[in-house]
Symmetry: C2
Subunit: 425 residues, 2 copies
């Protein structure tokens, strides 16, 4: 099953995915082809669907998952977050922690990420290594932050530039993980640094990720820092950071004009419903954005979000949309389970050039869910029901295999030799 568009869920009972030897998807068929000369992975009655994409999370906040949730944003940042991230100056600690994070991501079915590291170059490279090792693919950014970051976590403008270049040089070694420029957010970066990053993005053809309009206090601070900009997004635009494929987390308080700027420039929204509620930022107007043609994806935003598992991020997005549905007396439609899954899967894969669900011509990214581990239903369920239940109840135990970038990286399945095996005809 897969979700080619926001409104569709396509199902192919006992269908087949045909891969070439490099793991690139060549065909999606309603039945396994007869007499094919190929290795067959037979997952029986399990559900096979495109994997999850986490478009916003902070790797160095993983150790503080589920803590400090009662604090307001600025206290949370200053007493918890910056101090936690500072710990990643220690390479051994980074190695242990990132290995665990990568493993938890991949066993949870998240095969593509767009991720913040800390400002530490070495820890960022360790993070990239550990993601590659586990089979997680995508973009990772060394964070740039040369102001307003407290004592524990500080880099000068010169250090920030120098370390960014050192990091980019070292990134050439990675095959499945690529670098993305990551100014933390406008309050954390001097104009000098922002301008330098914008020029670098242009020069090297790099994507950019940051935060936008999460919280009222933050928006007021940005206004103070950039009196010449009438809106938050313009502080990125004036330095060349607001462009096609730029990822902006949150956008909770983006008004019609800011949303139009998102749409016009093909900037990607990473909606982080759980985090926005935990930190009392608000509920982003996702339905409105979708109606307007804005590109919306989902992010766990750990550790503002307290849940790394993307199926829970998806169901939390549904709940957040129901809050807005109720607030508008039903006028704003909530996200159906299929729509929210589309945002947490297809819309994210599109960032990597793979559109339409199972993307033919692209390496396979898929999860296999054994929904027989759930309670015995009262009657045989149809595929739509099995899909919904899996999204709501899926825990790592229910994910029996994960394919990432054309390789099976978690679990196994009986490999049935193809007809041609053994006699090489």
């Amino acid at each position: 099953m897969y979700s080619p568009t926001l409104s569709e869920l396509k199902t192919l009972p006992h269908g087949a995915l045909v891969l070439d030897e490099g793991g690139v998807l060549r065909d999606v068929l309603p039945h396994a082809p007869a007499g094919a000369d190929a290795e067959v992975h037979d997952y029986g009655d399990a559900l096979v669907m495109p994997s999850f994409v986490d478009m916003h999370l902070h790797a160095p906040q993983y150790p503080m998952l589920g803590m400090g949730m009662d604090l307001p944003l600025m206290d949370w940042l200053n007493t918890y977050t910056f101090r936690t991230e500072a710990r990643f100056a220690d390479a051994d600690y980074a190695r242990r922690t990132y290995r665990r994070l990568a493993r938890e991501l991949i066993t949870g079915g998240t095969t593509r990420v767009c991720m913040f590291s800390s400002l530490h170059t070495d820890a960022t490279l360790i993070l990239m290594e550990e993601l590659e090792r586990a089979g997680v693919t995508g973009y990772v950014g060394k964070v740039n932050m040369d102001r307003n970051s407290g004592d524990a976590l500080r880099e000068t403008t010169e250090q920030s530039k120098r370390e960014t270049l050192r990091w980019l040089d070292a990134c050439a070694d990675f095959r499945h993980i690529r670098p993305i420029l990551t100014p933390r957010f406008t309050p954390s970066c001097t104009d000098d640094l922002m301008a330098w990053l914008g020029a670098l993005a242009e020069e090297r053809g790099l994507y950019v990720q940051s935060h936008l309009s999460e919280n009222g206090g933050e928006i007021a601070l940005v206004k103070e820092l950039h009196p010449d900009c009438s809106q938050y997004w313009e502080t990125y635009a004036k330095y060349g950071l607001w462009k096609d494929h730029t990822v902006m987390a949150h956008c909770v308080h983006s008004d019609a004009r800011e949303r139009e700027a998102l749409r016009r420039h093909n900037v990607v929204v990473a909606h982080c419903a759980g985090s926005n509620i935990n930190i009392c930022s608000g509920v982003a107007p996702v339905r409105t954005m979708l109606d307007e043609g804005v590109w919306v994806t989902l992010g766990s935003d750990i550790a503002g979000g307290a849940q790394l598992a993307m199926n829970r991020v998806i169901t939390m997005s549904i709940r957040a949309s129901k809050i807005l549905h109720m607030k508008t007396d039903g006028e704003t439609a909530f996200l159906t389970v299929n729509e929210a899954y589309y945002l947490g899967s297809t819309a994210g894969h599109r960032y990597f050039g793979a559109d339409g669900g199972f993307a033919v011509g692209q390496p396979l990214h898929a999860i296999v869910v054994d929904d027989s581990v759930f309670a015995e239903p009262v009657r045989p369920l149809d595929l739509r029901e099995r899909f919904e239940r899996s999204i709501y109840l899926m825990d790592p135990g229910a994910i029996c295999a994960v394919w990432s970038d054309g390789r099976q990286v978690v679990g196994g399945a009986p490999v049935v030799p193809g007809k041609g095996d053994g006699n090489n005809n």
Copy 2:
């Protein structure tokens, strides 16, 4: 650690609980007593805290967990719920399903429940047996519903009365599970049946559970059915069902007058935050209820709720309260993690006569959480932080032991012979 009142979290690092041979808690000590002549369960550095209490859930909806979440309440009831419950006419199916439910409850740390069964007497007795077998204690009710229940699930008024008496007779055999009268809700019960149940409650000294003010359409229907009652709660009151220890699920739309009736009669609110958002019922004004002195507890409300684990019910209650916090521009304080835990633990145990956290003089109900399974923190955490993280991240894998009604029913711990063991001095 334990939560004796809404605002307190008491911690006793390496403290000790002293039980008598019947599992009744005799003392809570800051240190294990030296030289005690007793068996010692040493849980090392794990967290020991009072177990969870689920004050509202529908056992026969367990098979539909995580399904039908995109449907409005009345469609959800008629196309999913009633048909699912009807399946429990099959005793074998009930046995398999309830065994699994009971196991999932107890391994998740829920040791006390106030639970709806279906209208089936035999399946209700099977449910009670399976709960006892697993170590879950509390109240279970055979549902009464003699109108507006569709074709699949129907009993006449006479059947409902006769079966209720047959069920009550059979309940004498249970030790840890007791019966509670359970008119489904006002729209499901004729006046005749309601009056009979009220008289029976009085005659036999039985508690009552039902639903109240969940949804606008439901409230309008109740008004139509009982034009003499100005508010929903009065439809219970007029038949003697509104009394001390009556449990009312939801109370989303209870206004000041209805809340005052809750408080005055010591009626217990079972707040079901996740369910209320899933089904778009609203967000109950829990802070206001607490400020007014209403007795609030928590319920998973499966399968309107999609999560059986009470730690997730607790964190969802926090998120729901943050929605109201934001809606009132911060005027209504959200539930802190300790407050929400108090509601999901101490406030529920109080229903069973055990107040104040670890209740001395009562059989022990506790969970032991091995939080070393979570990610390595950046520095040693204090107990308050370990508590918060455990509430947010706890999965059954982190619960290494469960005590229910004075017996260890899940897991184990090295039993260290007391000093007196072996020489019987």
